[in-house]
């Protein structure tokens, strides 16, 4: 909103008494924004075509430079969509029941013998279990090497890094999102990012692959109850001098057919390592009565 518009708007407010202030506040209800949560989730204007609106448990458009967070039930499907080709979904997942169990990026790359995230890739905790599995992926450009941005990095790259300003750092957003689940700054580990990729060249340097373009999506399944934190900020290796990040769409849903991975799924036996990770996960869930 332009400054002139804002001043004009302020002049329109009548807030001299409590009753007038109440009327003024209530008159603001019912508006829509390009970035907002949709409640109930079934009211989402962007419900994926193949998903029944009534099954949605989370529907939101995350602002450029914004963050969101949610606790998801086991078996929930989570779809992240990049409507402009400019989103970058820095993501952390934790076992919601015991958040000391959290995404371990090193194991996530090492155990599957694969550095690049894609369909079928498990997001592993440090406790030998699968927190979430990537089910589908139409982007192919993600990253588990570089993590998210820090204030020091953004100050260097963009000349500013204030969380309330035009170049917020992903870590600072993660710290706030984590705080809302009782977690402190020490609980923000290395993260993965979706929709903006790098590749490692033969000499070890990172090649910027960037985006696959507008309209791609990744879909994950929660293998355990999850705390999900998402910061939508530029990838730290984004080469542009501008701080450009697009809105991010988030939808999650649950139906009688949405299960965590079981031995009946082909991906359960995709490799001996991942099979044992799923066995560990099912063992944990069974013992806890999940």
């Amino acid at each position: 909103m332009l400054k002139e518009d804002w001043v004009a708007l302020a002049a329109d407010h009548s807030t001299d008494t409590v009753l007038n202030a109440r009327a003024d506040a209530r008159a603001q209800g019912g508006q829509v924004s390009d970035w907002m949560p949709y409640l109930p989730a079934s009211s989402s204007p962007f419900c994926p075509d193949d998903v029944a609106p009534d099954s949605l448990t989370w529907a939101e458009t995350v602002a450029p430079g914004g963050y969101t967070h949610k606790v998801l039930a086991r078996g929930t499907r989570l779809r992240l969509e990049d409507p402009t080709g400019e989103a970058c979904a820095h993501t952390l997942v934790y076992n919601a029941l015991e958040p000391t169990e959290r995404l371990n990026v090193a194991d996530t790359q090492k155990i599957p013998w694969q550095a690049y995230l894609g369909a079928g890739h498990p997001l592993l905790s440090g406790d030998g279990r699968v927190l979430a599995t990537i089910l589908t992926d139409t982007s192919g450009r993600h990253d588990a090497f570089c993590g998210t941005s820090t204030a020091a990095w953004n100050a260097l790259r963009y000349g500013t890094a204030l969380p309330e300003g035009p170049a917020p750092a992903g870590r600072d957003l993660f710290v706030k999102a984590a705080a809302k689940h009782g977690l402190g700054p020490a609980d923000v580990p290395p993260s993965v990012s979706f929709f903006q990729g790098v590749r490692v060249a033969s000499d070890g340097s990172f090649e910027w692959f960037g985006s696959s373009g507008a309209g791609t999506a990744v879909e994950l399944v929660a293998e355990l109850p999850l705390i999900v934190l998402i910061a939508n900020v530029p990838h730290p290796r984004d080469p542009r001098p501008e701080y450009v990040v697009g809105p991010l769409r988030v939808h999650a849903w649950r139906t009688p057919e949405t299960f965590p991975t079981t031995p009946a799924d082909e991906r359960f036996d995709a490799s001996p390592e991942v099979r044992r990770a799923y066995l560990n996960t099912l063992d944990y869930a069974e013992a806890r009565g999940l």
Binding site: T15, D16, R22, A63, T84, R141, G182, S212, E242
Partner: protein, 265 residues
Amino acid sequence: MTTTIDNPVMMPVTTVPVPTTTYLTPDGQLISSVPVGASYADNTHLEWGDPLVPGAVVLDEQVAPRASWSGVVRAGQVLTIVDVGGNQSGDCLLYNAHHTDERYSAQDTLAWQDNAYIRTGTVLRSNLGRALMTVVENEIDRQDTIGGACSRESNTLRYGHHVMYHHGCRENFLTEGAKHGLGMRDIVSNINWFMNVPVEEDGALGIVDGMSAPGKRVALRAEIDTLVLISNCPQMNNPCNDFNPTPLRMIVSEPDTDLEYEADS
């Protein structure tokens, strides 16, 4: 905007332009797609003021509109807060600087003084009932400690879900608190310097037009070493900043002489 990078999934790579704005930075400008909230209008009258008590200035800092700030005021020092643009809520939390489990308690502060408003002489008490700071000078009729802080989440209750991505004071408290090892459990009911929250005869309570003006000040003497957190309220939906977020000035001074004050208790 298109790129020509080879891509096994989608050819050619086409992105949808994202609207951007040019923002000023300390060293220049930045083009960014982040929807940063409003700041004060160019024609806003600003009064930067001076310390309210005579003495050597040991710290003098500006808090930008929407920003957070923190600092330790040593026992005996006086913190002057200047409402530079007028009616700009400075949301404020206080902690024992050496043991932050002891922190500001709005309820103890009000109960001890038997009054719902902060005025000159109010002792700002901790959750242990001890004095953290004393209001030694105050240039507006009454200061608020009932109205609490705005947040992304409570804004959705007040105004609707469309404001979820507006910046809020609880975000500032989390940002600033994290620098001192403080988290969610450390954010308690706060003080709102220069904000007006009357309790009317029938119990109606809410934030209404302020009674402050550019350059109005309040001065707080630290009784113990006190960590002060400030959120310069970015609220764009109520009159806690006249719908025009302006700067605050924080001045810490060593007073020349012991200040006399009238404490209610």
